[in-house]
């Protein structure tokens, strides 16, 4: 029964494809790809709608108020109301804006986010497009986001938009390096860039109940935390939402966009969040594997979406809790702390692997990570000399 | 119609000549750099076409050369664009017809 539920979507797709068995080969491949694409879009667009209302409700609860609760039971139909509102708004384009660039920017941002969702394994045998260099594909697509953000800022012919776009690109480019270097230990240990292989390498249990997820190793835990922070930055979420700083530069590169185009920007940001959370689940949290052996009767795709949901909850939680960082603090953090820690992760993974992957090697790699961390925390703040604080009115 | 090696080579020469066109006929320094980058991309396409249409299973030589060529193209773009910015700061122009003196 559990096997049937696990492969239910794969069986459904085979069923549909069997109806086209007499068609030529290229038509069969096209139909197969179309089914994958339609399923992906259906799942993630409805997830987007759900998360947009859940985010508002969770943020509201953190801030001790109720969220949207008028439309539908507990406000869960709010996305429908939002969608209708966005669609009927007037589409204002500034007169001296670059029309083609202004139009293409939101499309490209949403397109790159959806493309990146295609290589993630959502369950056993459930990867939409298994490309041999899957992880590289993800990062190649992610690096085109910077160009789209620039197009959005430039096409608006607005100095604030341009400023927001420059800040966004500077932030994204700086954090791409820690993001990619943190993934390198995982690729090194597994020996493949194919996400399916990476998930398969995290199966199995030691001592009967400890799963082989990479987040439970020292380099994996550090890598996961660094990846999480870099993912926060790449999706322009608080505490790193300097590009969208609502109290500073209105909406940054999205200022001149109204109605449906703004909704597409919103969609692109959330889908980017889903894509990078999905990658974090695949690389560090064991993909679609269950955490304990006796829980394996639950279908694999259910485990994947549960882990994805947990990560999105932490994203929203961090947004509601932490204040925004200054743009120079963001840059300092990337280049002076995260990059050396990411390199330390690679070193720790190598130590773990060559010391035999036993408990001793676990302790040795933990030692490497802690050594670099304490060295950085000691010597990075050494240059700053703060004057003694003086209070003018609080005596 | 399966494409033959000749078709790929004609395509990459067309791309190369378009890059040459951009490098020779524009007067803005950044346009010229765009042309140079396009010429490098066309050359890489040539390498991969020859690798693919050679005897199989082929050693990955064509792929390796192209990977290194792309890396070098990136390095050269960085330095070239830094030069353009430095010249602009000094002479306040990017029109290559006006950048004709060695004395700063």
């Amino acid at each position: 029964m559990s096997g049937f539920l696990d492969q239910i979507f794969v069986q459904a797709k085979e069923h549909i494809l069997a109806a086209f068995a007499a068609a030529p080969v290229w038509l069969g491949q096209l139909i197969s790809s179309l089914i994958n694409i339609v399923a992906l879009l259906a799942v993630f667009l409805s997830l987007f709608a759900l998360v947009s209302v859940l985010e508002r409700k969770i943020l509201a609860r953190i801030q001790n108020r109720l969220g949207p609760n008028r439309v539908g039971p507990f406000g869960l139909l709010q996305p429908a109301a939002d969608g209708i509102k966005m669609l009927i708004k007037e589409d204002i384009v500034p007169t001296r804006a670059d029309k083609a660039v202004h139009f293409l920017a939101p499309i490209l941002i949403a397109m790159t986010a959806i493309l990146a969702l295609g290589i993630i394994p959502y369950g056993r045998n459930m990867t939409p497009f298994a490309i041999d260099g899957g992880i590289l594909f993800f990062f190649a697509i992610g690096s085109t986001t910077e160009l789209s953000v620039f197009m959005a800022g430039w096409g608006s012919n607005n100095k604030f938009s341009m400023l927001g776009a420059m800040r966004a690109i500077a932030q994204m480019v700086s954090y791409e390096l820690p993001l990619i270097i943190t993934v390198l230990p995982v690729v090194m240990v597994v020996g493949s860039l194919l996400p399916d292989t990476i998930v398969a390498a995290q199966g199995g249990y030691s001592l009967g109940f400890i799963p082989h997820w990479f987040v439970l190793t020292p380099w994996g835990a550090t890598g996961f935390m660094l990846f999480f922070v870099a993912a926060l930055v790449e999706s322009n979420r608080t505490p790193f939402d300097v590009p969208e700083g609502e109290s500073e530069i209105v909406a940054g590169h999205m200022t001149e966009y109204s109605g449906f185009k703004y909704a597409i920007f919103f969609l692109g940001e959330y889908l980017g969040m889903f894509a990078v959370s999905g990658l974090a689940v695949t690389l560090f949290l064991g993909g679609w594997h269950a955490p304990l052996p006796f829980l394996e009767f639950v279908p694999s795709w259910l485990w994947f979406f549960a882990k994805l949901g947990a990560m999105i909850f932490v994203f929203i939680w961090v947004r509601g809790t932490l204040p925004r960082t200054r743009v120079d603090q963001v840059m300092n953090f990337a280049w002076k702390f995260m990059l050396p820690m990411a390199f330390a992760c690679i070193l720790a993974a190598a130590v773990w692997h060559y010391a035999g992957r036993r408990f001793v090697s676990w302790l040795l790699s933990l030692g490497v990570v802690l050594l670099v961390y304490f060295a950085l925390s000691r010597f990075l703040g050494a240059g700053k000399k703060f004057a003694p604080r003086s209070y003018r009115f609080a005596e | 119609m399966t494409p033959t090696l000749q078709l790929f080579l004609i395509l990459s020469s067309a791309l190369f000549c378009i890059g040459l066109l951009a490098a020779l006929s524009r007067r803005h320094a950044v346009f010229i750099l765009i042309g140079i980058e396009m010429m490098l991309a066309a050359a890489g396409l040539n390498f991969i076409a020859f690798w693919r249409f050679g005897p199989q299973p082929a050693p990955p030589t064509g792929v390796m050369i192209t990977i290194f060529a792309i890396g070098i193209a990136a390095a050269e773009a960085a330095v070239g664009l830094a030069l353009v910015i430095a010249v602009y700061r000094h002479l306040r122009t990017t029109n290559i017809d006006e950048i004709d003196e060695l004395k700063g």
Binding site: - | T2, T4, A14, I18, F31, M38, P60
Partner: protein, 160 residues
Amino acid sequence: MNGAAFIFIAIFTLAAALAAAALGKLIHAALSFAAASVGVAAFYFLLGAEFVGLVQVFVYVGAVAVLIVFTILLTRRDLEKDHGFNWSGVFIALAVFAGLVWAILKSAKLSSAAQPLASLTVKQIGEALMTDYVWPLQCIGVILTAALVGALVLVMEERR
């Protein structure tokens, strides 16, 4: 190899490249150049070298195009003036193209069809990079470091 895919990608790439060479506004030309790079990457996928295609998108669109765009932004006061088009460049480019096409069509051995592709996995590329090509790998690391430092030195504001 699919003939229809070849024609489609060829038209897209050549159109984007021509736009990059001929458009008046610099930003449009830079973005068309990014599109042409994606077209070339699509050709790499068609030819079976997927890793190189991904590296092409990563480096050209993610790095070179962004650099070009930043340079356009930093040299902005020049943008309103149209620098003009030098028509003799067109003749030279056409002459070079004619010469190359004549040379290609004249060589007899180039018109054979492709043999079935033995797959080249990323693992094989990695092994080749670490065994046969380890010296070029180290050299390109040095070149990239030198380019990075050189570009920074060129662009840094001078402290008085």
